[in-house]
Amino acid sequence: MIRFEAVGKRYPGGGEALATLDLDIAAGEFVFLTGPSGAGKSTLLKLVALIERPSRGQVIVNGQNTRKVARRRIPQFRRGLGMVFQDHKLLADRSVFENVALPLLIAGYAERDINRRVRAALDLVGLADKAPRLPLTLSTGEQQRVGIARAVVSKPPLLIADEPTGNLDPALSLEIMRLFERFNELGVTLLIATHDIDLVTQLGHRRVELVSGQLVGDTGLGHGRA
């Protein structure tokens, strides 16, 4: 599902964010990406989402070499993956329903399909009764679940998350991770960057560790698969 081949990333005027990285994540895997701040976790995710392009090497996502995705094809490419952010990135002036509906609207779904799918996604994250609310009237944990509902509403085969539990207490964090595990059971590939080592250890999925842009540990392909 994701393959990094000798990928290096150097930011202009900055140091080496990633140095010659090789990584293979198969479809259906649940992978944690760990490491201290500045290790290159976010950079790796950005390369997957085509927010950044590699300085060297190739990144292949869902069979597509990101090098070959032209700028104007990037929106189409991004519709093929769901993204969850630490700060949710919800639109404050739109209701929970409208936020979750946005990816479907962009992809041009029919109205009744949108209604059905948004209800289902909100149901799945346990927020069916919050549809008409504005995001800022919800708790942080609930806002993150809205973000997750938006990421999965168009049923992408791949979900990436950057510190999705960064702002949550341990109980809520576990709840969010259990939600991710349910998606994984349904066949979604997950790549989650986190520094919450306790949680990672507790859940026992495959763990890829970065330090200073280098791969220093990988519990192995298929480790801890459900």
């Binding site: 929106p75 962009i106 049923k155």
Partner: protein
């Protein structure tokens, strides 16, 4: 939601078909059209100021155009109202004058021809000028026979002038006097005003594009994070751009409507004095408004300029916003 059929499924499984997407496309347009109007309404003061500036910028050239058109309509009436005098060569008999008059009366563009004989002319002259004594001292009458020709009303100044030239080339005619020089001068001034209104139109049209462009640029700045989110979840450039384009369209349309209101008020304010002035000249003249066409041009032109301004702003600034 994620049904078992999706397990290991391909990327686009469950993606909407072409017809659905086309229908969705038009629904999006409709939603954007109303949505961007709602966005304007949520900042009533800022929107009102922008729209007022656009309205004024559009009302000025449009108002000038109305005035110029009225001046042209007015002067067209004057030009055709001018009679001209045809003087026969001295020594031509009165019979020749009568023949020419009879021929002239047969022309479609001439409604009346009056023959003033040399004797009548002399009598009039002595009656009006008080030079009776001086005139009586003359041995013979120095005045020629004269035709006073009245062209058909509504004839253009050029046609009247051509008509007069036609008399000049006839046998036995000494001079044709057509006093339209002042009308021509007036028309020349009107033409300058017309050109000036064209220049104003260009400049202020450009101003409208700049105003809308700048407003949309600020709007884009204010919604930077929203645009980033849209790009992150796969919003195409067109999708992100559309609400801004409709925003520009609304600015232009409402500005155009406001310009119509401004102009109508100005016409209303001018109608009374113009009526009075026309009354002093015994003229039957009333200011003509721009009419439905003018309204359409203002609103349509506003829409076009607003859309253009938004298009320029989005082309320049949306591309710069990328998620990081």
């Amino acid at each position: 939601m994620a049904a078992p059929e999706r397990r290991g499924g391909e990327l686009r499984r469950g993606a909407p078909g072409l017809l659905t997407r086309v229908r969705g496309y038009f629904r999006l347009h409709a939603q954007n059209l109303l949505g961007s109007l709602g966005r304007l309404a949520r900042q009533p003061l800022a929107s009102l100021l922008t729209v007022a500036v656009i309205g004024i910028a559009m009302a000025l050239p449009a108002g000038l155009d109305v005035l110029v058109n009225n001046a042209r309509a007015l002067s067209a009436g004057w030009a055709s109202a001018v009679d001209f005098s045809v003087y026969l060569e001295p020594g031509q008999p009165l019979a020749r004058a009568e023949t020419l008059a009879a021929e002239a009366r047969g022309q479609a563009d001439i409604v009346a021809v009056e023959v003033i004989s040399a004797e009548e002319a002399l009598a009039q002259l002595s009656r009006f000028t008080g030079m009776q004594a001086a005139l009586e001292a003359l041995d013979d009458n120095p005045l020629p026979h004269t035709l006073v020709v009245r062209p058909r009303p509504g004839l253009s100044a050029e046609a009247v002038s051509r008509l007069a030239d036609g008399f000049e080339s006839l046998e036995g005619i000494d001079l044709v006097q057509l006093d339209t020089a002042w009308v021509e001068r007036f028309l020349a001034i009107v033409d300058i005003a017309r050109r000036a209104s064209g220049i104003t139109l260009l400049l202020l049209g450009f101003a409208v594009v700049v105003i809308v462009g700048n407003t949309i640029r600020l709007d884009i700045e204010n919604r930077r994070s929203e645009i980033e989110v849209m790009k992150l979840i796969g919003g195409s450039d067109g999708f992100i751009r559309r609400p801004f384009l409709y925003g520009g369209l609304w600015y232009g349309v409402i500005g155009g409507l406001l310009a119509v209101v401004f102009n109508a008020s100005a016409l209303l304010a001018l109608a009374g004095p113009v009526q009075r002035l026309a009354g002093l000249y015994n003229a039957d003249f009333a200011l003509q408004g721009p009419g439905l066409t003018g309204l359409g041009v203002l609103v349509g032109g506003g829409a076009l300029l607003g859309w253009l301004g938004a298009w320029v702003a989005t082309s320049r600034h949306l591309r710069d916003i990328e998620p990081t």
